[in-house]
Amino acid sequence: MSAVTSDESGVTELPSVLRPYGDQTGDGMVQVSFTLPMPNGKRAEGAALQLASRMGIEPALVVHAKAIGEGFTFFVVYGPVKHLVEPGLVEVVEREFPLLSGKEINTAIKRHLRRKLVVVGACIGTDAHTVGIDAILNIKGFAGEKGLEYHREVKVVNLGAQVLIPELVERAREEKADAVLVSQVVTQRDAHISNTTAMSAAFREAFPAGKVPLLVVGGPRFEEGSAGSLGVDRIFGRGTTPGEVASYLVHALVPQASVSRQSKGA
């Protein structure tokens, strides 16, 4: 899984604590907006200040208060937040694999796996947002990089959208998938989380331990570091490029290759 580091290499020049910056070092300034389910008025303004103060903003200034209908008030609040930011405590998930070129990817698979690497992709549940997964899988690609289909040694089966989990498990078995790539874009009421956990549970049930394909999910609103709790091997977020995904797959599924490069990368 992904290597969590808290090495100081990236932070050496940063102070150990810092604060948000409005227009002066250390001023701690932030902007906040929210709606309270209360009619506009003095009490609501006081409540907004109360909330801001509980968030650590002190003194907070309510710079805008506007009634929305009768029972709601929208607030904009400015002020300094008293919390400190400690960059040294941030756990940065560093890319745990080297970025490979298209040629390196094909060569690695050919030489070390000696068959095509099979990838099955889908949007599951009722999610119909295929643009993201297509960006990763289709030749067309994303951000100037060709998608996985482009690699001679990768076989891509893109099931499209709204795929039911049993259907996905079945296809993965049929295709002898090395990896299953799933996209989840709709997050209201945590749909992405429940769909993903249901999916990973189904795979772990359907395949014998050790035979479960590599499970990868992606989408713009996953929390970094939650792969473990979702039961998948890796998460890819906002702005992922196909090259990253291909390199990761080689790293995770074609051990020889990744070892031979590891020294140079990451």
Binding site: G69, F74, Q188, A191
Partner: protein, 529 residues
Amino acid sequence: MSSRTPPLLELDRADVRRARTLARKVGKPVVDIASRHTTVSVERATLRLAGLSGADHERVPWVNHLVDAVREGVGLEHGVTQPVWDALRRGAAPDLLTLAQMASSRSVDFRLPEGKDATAAAKQSRQAVAHGIRTIDRQRAARERLVKRHGDPEQRPWIYLIVATGDIYEDIPQAQAAAREGADVIAVIRSTGQSLLDYVPEGATREGYAGTYATQENFRLMRAALDETSKEVGRYIRLTNYASGLCMPEIAALAGMERLDMMLNDSMYGILFRDINPIRTFVDQRFSRQVHARAGIIINTGEDNYLTTSDAVEAAHTVTVSQLLNEYFAKEAGLEDWQLGLGHAFEINPDLKDSFRMELSHALLARTLFPDAPLKWMPPTKHMTGDVFRGNLLDGFFNLVGALTGQGILLVGMMTEAVVTPWISDRDIALQNVRYVLNAAGGLTEDFHPPRDGFIQTRARQVLGEAIDLLQQITDEPGRAPLLEAIADGTFGEMKRPATAGKGLDGVVERADGYDNPATTLLETGATR
């Protein structure tokens, strides 16, 4: 409608005629196919018009049980009404509901009546269905009365706002608040995935994802709430929902009976974005549009969606082609110009030089091609990001295009487009944005005169030219219905959808010679009994 339809583009009239002729040529074979088929949903819609509603304890609607039972028994080739009213006449059950309940446990034997039996069944089913049609007629009259009483919005474009909490009881106060703040049209976004359900859920619902289920009861509750608000704000607030999906005909019927005012109804959206079988879609679409025509409902087409998967500059002409096809299919189904809320969208990459003017050009092209249609202008979505400050700015310029090009319906963009389904405050900020732009800058139409052969005219002509070429190419496709081939090839929205695949295909049935559907008859003839 904006009093002035700007003749700013100086399009070649012959080109415009040519485009329409080609659209008819492309559309006609599909209409022929649609007329030769029925679907489970068309039949269920017919039963709904005849008064059958409700569901079993597992929330499976009685119409589904009854249609399934008939299909198992005698097939649907002749329509559901003949076997059903024959069974009623034969005393298999005292009424339609009981019959459906009995059918759900397969305790009714259906047969295909012949001769006099058939005539009698046809007559009685027609009486029953006509009841539903007259409800639709009454609701249409009620709308006309209410519009007269409360008035239409003062300005064009009408301000269209979405509500999407997933819970009808949260939706209602939010919709009312939005109307008070200036919304003219409220759309209740549907729970994701409902369009793939092959039944219409029942009752008031509180558990949708990224939208609220479209149900008859939710329609009724929201319409009643907005009737109150209409009175309060002194203008008739319109209500919109989604017909598209596997239950398009039924939802259209429910919308007509519950007095919805606009419905999302695109000829290809379900095919392209929901992978619904093309034939199923075209059959359902034709029926649903006949209902919308009767109900005086304005349809909203979905060309905006194409631009979320294709590039808005490169694929601009596919929007035009789709608009022409939607227009053809709509008119064929009996809709009038004022009912054609043809869609288009502000989706060009905003970092592109002159992107705003290109949007103006595209929007004017639609305006000029369809001068009497209340075009629906859709906000930026694809190029919205988490930078909500920039988002609100983009929405402002979107609004400006809407005002400058005389759009009929303005779907209000939200600064949080790339983040969440809209919050209550997002709607408020968005409406404030619209109000500012329309009020402060709306009159700029007086000063907006793209010069002859300037950037805007040239670009519009180019897009129209590309649309004509594409239509021409489609007519050159092989087969009896070249449009189906084109759809299978990925011509629209870069989605490939063959006519032999897709969801809901098994619900398509070729009509037999004796096929009868009293709803279709009443809709096509305009009769009320």
